[in-house]
Symmetry: D2
Subunit: 353 residues, 4 copies
């Protein structure tokens, strides 16, 4: 993790700044209003309705939580029966970077192999089919849901066809499909996206629309197009410590993000900057480590180039520093300015290759 | 819960508005800055240092979480060994209004009787002493910590002598004392308070300084004067879904609250308004249901009075509505205006008793 | 707990000896047979069928577990949804003497007042009705099942009418009724019993037929007359560490207990001895502390009498020893010999009162 | 799982029969004695002392539990702090065949690659070293203990040197080493064993001596040579539903197994028969699938051979049946008769290869 944050360009991650200025403006405007708590206020209801409309899911349960790890742990706990576990890419956030939050609630993460950060419907199908062929399956943790992220940890995207296949496979085996959309705006805003938010709502049983990394100060919106998928979700959210007293804060934020297409626009602009950055690296012959069409870009660079860029920008190593070259990640977000990208490209252009 | 929030005076609770204007101002000012996440930024460090100073606890571990239920569940989970439970007033928030968050982490709440919302050192001593006299105590849940709230759910305060006694009793039996300070500013700001923040830091093993109800937009600051009381707390906070990505948001807020004595001032002003309200009710011969010196006031009123006041203000029934009279609660906070209290008193004065 | 076990009469509890001789004989006879594990063998199937017949519940799920605490924790975990807790008498075994096993699985025990060790349908009805009238009920642990014991911890019995009322109340509120039958043979064998095993199967959603205290070496048989009440119970039993590899051991034992009315007979004989003992104490004017019609008898005796009887027998204090008199418990079981009771009564008769 | 158990030879597993005849004899002899419960009786104390002596660990905590899954879940829960997980071979029993019992207690299983069913000290060292080099390690589950089995799931053995290396590695990183000895007698009884029980007690922080598969009717003996490694273990055993009321049953059994070298002898005889079987297969040119020196033997056989042998014996497929050949497992135990092995070899010799 890069510690220097002074006067440099920042490409470490997509949660370095506060809230999108429009979101901040609305929080300030409504600050002194008094509303009832726990999401029962009008702003929250407005936000829920805007999300239902954007998802083309008029009956959807929409519940706001605070952060991603807590959202994953709560939803997975809600969807699984006690003897079940959650299928996930081995590189999935819940399997690696959530300090065992899923296991804290009593459930095992069942790992699937990944290619480009994605699991395949074939691998899921194979897991589900062979599981019940094993004579001892009742001594094993039953696969109870499939967890995927869109975009993935590597910034890659499931295509519509891939989502359709995963959804079909899950439903053929009667297990819910849950999509972690921590960075969903950057999926929807990618030129490579051949799916829409209504597609996701149609194919997934539960998903969440990320706020924290997508323009909100904080907050995630869990959506269950069919609310019967998440019965008694409210007390479970409370039990998981995920219920904000001042629920209207999330209402105000999501209502802003889902007005005037702000959520989409945030994604589009940030992805465009990321792809501009990628083009600049590619053009100069650097290795693109992952073929990512979203706001995370991964390059394998000579250490000298890494060191030179670290003079002007902060960004993360992706894995340990190598002996002669290292893979690094650059992330854009709503808070990335076009001139930041220009400056970084300029710095790159100054380097002898 | 009162649903009308339009154009009325609001005394429902202390989390109806957003953030104290000064806190909001600082959030807006710093909004576009980029910092590293998870509380490793300079604002968070500044806030931790200000809190250490205010507590006269220079080595304290200070960790920010988001909300009260999650803070209680996480701290209690950190302090207890697996075979232990937490002693609490039967009316304690963790025993009643947290949807079983403590049990979700595997621990039992062991209830103590209360008087005026408080547990007595005698009752704790008695519990701890007789527990180990029972031949079958190894088949029972061992009392592992004592949980208290200051002020209590009823707005009452433990005096310094009572805190000293509880602390001495806990330490004689080698169990930590944990204080829930969700409304701590309204304790410290009470004219009845004969203790200081350093007293609390001296007597408690762990406590939290409430932000959500005390001027912050959200956030609670856990303090362990001796950091060895909370080893490996950071990953546990993450595991509980209680770690905010944009940790600096809490840093900015607590740094503001602990500069220029704002935290104290918020408490003092709100309590003064609450006591003014109480005096008005008392003066007119209404029954004060709880002798509370803080920002929550409880009155038992004829239903006609309740109904008349509900025309101009929102507030909560405390328990079910009675046949002829009901107990109700009025809460002030940093967002209560002196003129709100004046208007309510005026409305009261218009009623024939 | 009485430590002396040498050459004395033993009335401490009902798990001091091994297995009923008939059970032991069958275990020895079948010892070298090889069968498949985990209860899939023919003995287990035979036992399940005998139990189904005895319960007049031909479709019942019958699953064998090893001990009582584990059975309660597993069944309760199976029946509750994550946001729910279990209603229980405050004196219930799960609330006091199971080291927090229910909480270890994430659930709260919600306590009800008791009279004579029993909860009343009125109290249950009142709890369930008022719970949902509370505006904040979604912040509280929802009552998900009712747990009762038959006989109770005090040896008392729910009458058929009381069971009918509890069952009706539970089902009106759509929550399962679960009956802990750790000592069920001593309920069924009481002259005061106005209910049968089929009554219990008709009125309870799940119950267990105790083996450990009722003639088996170990083992408890969980019965769900409607197996849909316990879906996926087998892997949950495994997950709770409650699945015996050599499942046929429980099969052999329960098949023996449920052949030739042995289970009933064990109960009847032990209760008859207990009541004979009680008559002897009553006759001599001693205080019967609990009006128990089963194998546990409680007397409040002068300490001199207690001390004199401790010369010839072992038994337990029920609560702390008093200054001049103490309450003690005498327990009979299948292993109590008529001559043991005679000897104790003789010893009693020798005392000057 | 082979279902036929009638008149055939049985090599399915090592828990098909009841108890070793000597164990059964002692259970029958002591059956009507009355003792106090929960392992506080003299038989249990005798067994604990015999085990301490056999382990050359005079101060060891020895606690009896009922079965393997429950023992693993309880010990692991006792050893881990809340933010930690358990390192295990990916093929480890806790990771595959315990229905998520470890996760039910809130802990993640962290998998290591295996060779011949074993983990290497190098892989453990590498895991532990690189874990703390990752900047984000506080967001990941910390490795808290190492879990190994001896013999492994594949019947292979860690040599003394391998155990020394694993122990040294664990202790250098300050994490306990826990050994699952479900089949420990078959490790100790192997001609390939270059370690002793005192070696295991010297190198492991906690281990368990399997009873269920090694001559007992049921029961496992947890040993912590330094009892401070398992503080408050008794209530945790109770909480996990693993405390047998009639604790003396385990005392009687383990006292028998650890008298007259019965435990050793059981292992030696069963392993000798297994190796005799292996020699017969090898001699005839069949493929030995695993180089196992213990009571489990794995062969890859033409399906015709498998089918022919299934006519006379029961045994398990190891993985799915192949198209032309399949891997199968033969297991011997204390209940395997020399003539059973002779008969199987005779059957094998009748087959044309």
């Amino acid at each position: 993790m890069s510690l220097s944050t002074d006067k440099k360009l920042h490409f470490d991650n997509d949660y370095m700044a506060g809230a999108h200025p429009e979101v901040m403006r609305r929080l300030a405007e409504t600050n002194l209003e008094c509303t009832i708590g726990y999401g029962l206020d009008d702003y929250s209801e407005e936000a829920r309705n805007l999300i239902r409309t954007a998802c083309d899911a008029p009956n959807a349960l929409v519940q706001f939580l605070v952060g991603g790890t807590q959202t994953n742990a709560t939803v997975i706990d809600a969807l699984l029966r006690r003897h079940e576990g959650v299928l996930s890419a081995d590189s999935g956030h819940i399997n690696v970077h959530e300090s065992g939050a899923v296991e804290h609630s009593g459930h095992k993460v069942l790992v699937l192999p990944t290619r480009n950060g994605k699991v395949s419907a074939d691998d899921v199908e194979n897991y589900l089919r062979t599981f019940y062929q094993d004579d001892t399956y009742e001594h094993m943790v039953a696969p109870g849901i499939l967890y995927i992220t869109q975009p993935t940890e590597l910034g890659t995207l499931y295509s519509l066809a891939e989502l359709e296949a995963l959804s079909a496979c899950c439903h053929a085996h009667n297990i819910p499909l849950y999509l972690d959309g921590a960075r969903l705006c950057y999926a929807l805003g990618s030129p490579a996206a051949d799916f829409t938010l209504p597609d996701i709502a149609r194919l997934c049983d539960v998903f969440y629309i990320g706020g924290t990394k997508c323009g909100a100060m904080f907050g995630e919106a869990v959506v269950a197009p069919n609310p019967e998928r998440l019965p008694h979700f409210f007390p479970l959210v409370k039990q998981h410590g995920a219920l904000l007293a001042k629920g209207r804060l999330q209402g105000v934020q999501f209502a802003t993000l889902f007005s005037h297409h702000l959520y989409e626009q945030i994604g589009k602009e940030a992805v465009a900057l990321a792809l501009q950055l990628r083009a600049a690296f590619e053009e100069r012959g650097y290795i693109v480590a992952v073929n990512s069409p979203t706001n995370q870009q991964f390059f394998t660079l000579p250490n000298a180039v890494v060191d030179a860029l670290l003079e002007v920008a902060t960004f993360e190593y992706w894995g340990p520093r190598g002996e002669t070259e290292s893979t690094v990640r650059f992330v854009t977000s709503w808070s990335t300015l076009p001139e930041d990208v220009d400056k970084l490209i300029f710095a790159l252009s100054q380097l002898s290759h």
